[in-house]
């Protein structure tokens, strides 16, 4: 990070909206002074304290721990109390636009209605579910390996940065989203917890669970606690197969189908994989397949290329495969 500049005067645009009085949101410009160590939160304060006392945003701890101050700057999710402002000025060529995490959920300026986030969080039972003895005679010890298996999932501060950066959620309101799924993983692998199977069933649902993640890594990029939610989503996928919760459907067959192709050809047999995943529903892909065939985009089974040294690949699949559908 270069800290050459110690002081700057800049014009910042901020999203303004009051759901009670405004019909439409608008943007307002503010002349701000930015010091080398100023955080985005300092700039929000400057707007409120020196320009317009009605400007609204959430903040509490100022230490990156309460998760209240998440906003977007030029589309990049940030924790206002953690993100250095000069760094952003450099990244965005001195033009900053402050917006709430989700414009369609805006209530007042940077403040949004986070109900959808909390509802989804609650749905995964984000706590240890266990019959606790009132007068235990010994502690419930966890091994180091068990603690490490939680990865960093328990660092989540529920800031919503990942949730409101997730494009799958943006177009599919039923999707649980990265934060809730991270919490689901965190408590499912907790050895004291007894609701793991319930959570795996819930997160295996088509339309709302792990299979609706588009694998864009926006969540991993967004998380200010560097939690990498999609890593936990992949673990949930694997757990669903391990624990035999995964039912045979188009998505699970699609994941598993790779093994068959790889065993046979080393590389993927694209056509066969679609047919294997879709079963009878494969007919809906026929128009597409014809269009592709006409353009020389489909390799016929008898022409399928094979990887060299295929026997090595077959052997490795045989000795390394851990899950079954």
């Amino acid at each position: 990070m270069s800290r050459k500049e110690t002081h700057k005067k800049v014009t910042v645009k901020a999203f303004r909206f009051n759901a009670e009085t405004d019909y439409l949101p608008y943007y307002k410009q503010y002349e701000l002074e930015v010091g080398a160590d100023d955080l985005v939160l300092d700039l929000l304060n400057q707007i409120k304290w020196e320009h317009d006392g009605s400007f609204s945003y959430r903040r509490s701890c100022r230490h990156g721990i309460c998760g209240a101050c998440g906003i977007k700057v030029n589309g990049k999710p940030v924790l206002a109390c953690k993100q250095n402002a000069m760094e952003l000025l450099e990244l965005f060529n001195n033009e900053l636009v402050f917006e709430p995490q989700s414009k369609k959920r805006a209530m007042k300026d940077m403040i949004i209605d986070k109900k959808d986030f909390w509802d989804k969080h609650e749905a995964v039972q984000p706590f240890v579910v266990a019959d606790i003895e009132e007068h235990p005679e010994h502690e419930t010890a966890m091994s180091i390996a068990q603690v490490e298996n939680i990865l960093d999932a328990d660092y989540c501060i529920q800031c919503g940065s990942c949730h409101y950066a997730c494009p799958a959620l943006e177009v599919n309101e039923d999707y649980l989203g990265p934060a809730a799924l991270t919490a689901a993983y965190r408590f499912t692998v907790d050895p004291r917890d007894e609701a793991g199977m319930e959570r795996l069933e819930l997160t295996a649902q088509m339309g709302s669970g792990v299979w609706d993640c588009v694998k864009c890594f926006e969540c991993a990029q967004a998380c200010p606690k560097e939690i990498n939610p999609i890593e936990k989503i992949t673990k949930l996928h694997n757990l669903q197969f391990e624990q035999k919760v995964a039912r045979s459907n188009v998505a699970t067959r699609h994941a598993e189908g790779f093994v068959h192709s790889i065993k046979k050809h080393g590389i993927l047999d694209e056509g066969h994989l679609v047919a294997y995943s879709e079963r009878a529903a494969v007919v809906k892909h026929i128009p597409e397949a014809l269009a592709m065939f006409k353009k020389g985009k489909i390799v016929m089974p008898w022409n399928m290329p094979k990887s060299k040294n295929l026997d090595e690949i077959q052997k490795l699949v045989e000795i390394s495969q851990t899950n079954k559908l």
Partner: protein, 291 residues
């Protein structure tokens, strides 16, 4: 400049549904004097789906692919963003997790291989932009693309998460990526600035959630059109399949007329360097490319 030489991991798509990607890659390399050694031993990378079924197996297979690049003593180049992320993620994991590396190597030993971690893994886009250099490419342009407004579509798996990708993508910032824009300008085309350039096309849920996929692809296409794009260019064949082959689905979901040619990154470069029609393989596109 000493001659650049890489081990090319083609991935599966370039050998099946996007043959034009492989032919244009080879043609561009030839024009620029870059030597590519094909890794014909390589298997599928798992495409982020095998990983959901069996993460460990995916690590083993990807490690094996890297072993073959290591045997040649070469940097591996990929021509698919998803191959890139799965291979690079495997490399990163094995280079930082000694226990996993030992478990993987125990399997590889059974077929006489060992993952050593000596080969870099980078996408061909960054081999061109960062290793070959934009100025050197610019010098070779015979057919400037000045007539065209070209919308760069970066594709997720080359730019996020930056902590991983910055090991091989020249420090690209996922919120303000510039490599493709700069490449377009080096070929004298006009790069289109539009919000969707670094967004997701939704390819990975094509089968189970086509509505999501169509809407994400559609949003990007419409955004490009509304910003006067004549065409889109992408370094990822999976983005290409969604935008080219499935363009009419995306258009329908958006309720808009969409007729936008989609180029693979090497096709665009090849066009400017004077590669032949056959090499560019434009006849393989479902959405017509009329130049």
């Amino acid at each position: 400049m000493s001659q650049l030489k890489y081990a090319l991991y083609t991935g599966c798509t370039a050998r099946e549904s996007t043959p034009e990607l492989l032919s244009s890659t080879l043609a561009v390399a030839k024009k620029l004097g870059i030597e590519l050694v094909l890794l014909d031993e390589a298997s599928c990378c798992g495409a982020s789906h095998l990983q959901d079924f069996d993460e460990f197996l995916a690590y083993v297979l990807n490690a094996r692919n890297i072993c073959y690049a290591e045997k040649h003593g070469l940097t591996m180049v990929t021509i698919c963003n998803t191959c890139q992320i799965n291979t690079a993620m495997t490399k990163h994991k094995l280079d930082h997790d000694a226990e996993l590396r030992a478990r993987v190597n125990e399997k590889l030993a059974e077929v006489g291989l060992e993952y050593k971690g000596t080969s870099e893994v980078k996408h061909f886009l960054y081999a061109l932009v960062d290793d070959y250099g934009l100025e050197a490419i610019s010098d070779k342009v015979t057919t400037p693309l000045s007539k065209y407004n070209i919308a760069p579509f970066y594709g997720c798996h080359n730019i996020r998460p930056s902590e991983l990708q910055n090991e091989s993508n020249g420090g690209e910032n996922p919120y303000v990526p510039t490599s493709l824009d700069r490449l377009i300008e080096a070929l004298e085309g006009n790069s289109v600035d539009y919000e969707s350039k670094n967004k997701c096309c939704g390819f990975h849920v094509d089968l189970q959630a086509p509505e999501t996929s169509n809407r994400l692809t559609g949003t990007a296409l419409v955004d490009a059109i509304d910003n006067n794009a004549d065409m889109v260019v992408t370094p990822c064949p999976l983005c290409h399949l969604n935008m080219d082959v499935k363009q009419h689905h995306a258009a329908k979901t958006m309720g808009r007329d969409v007729e936008l040619p989609i180029l693979h990154m090497p096709q665009m470069v090849g066009l400017a360097l004077g590669c032949t029609e056959a090499e560019l393989g434009l006849k393989h596109h479902v959405t017509k490319v009329a130049l």
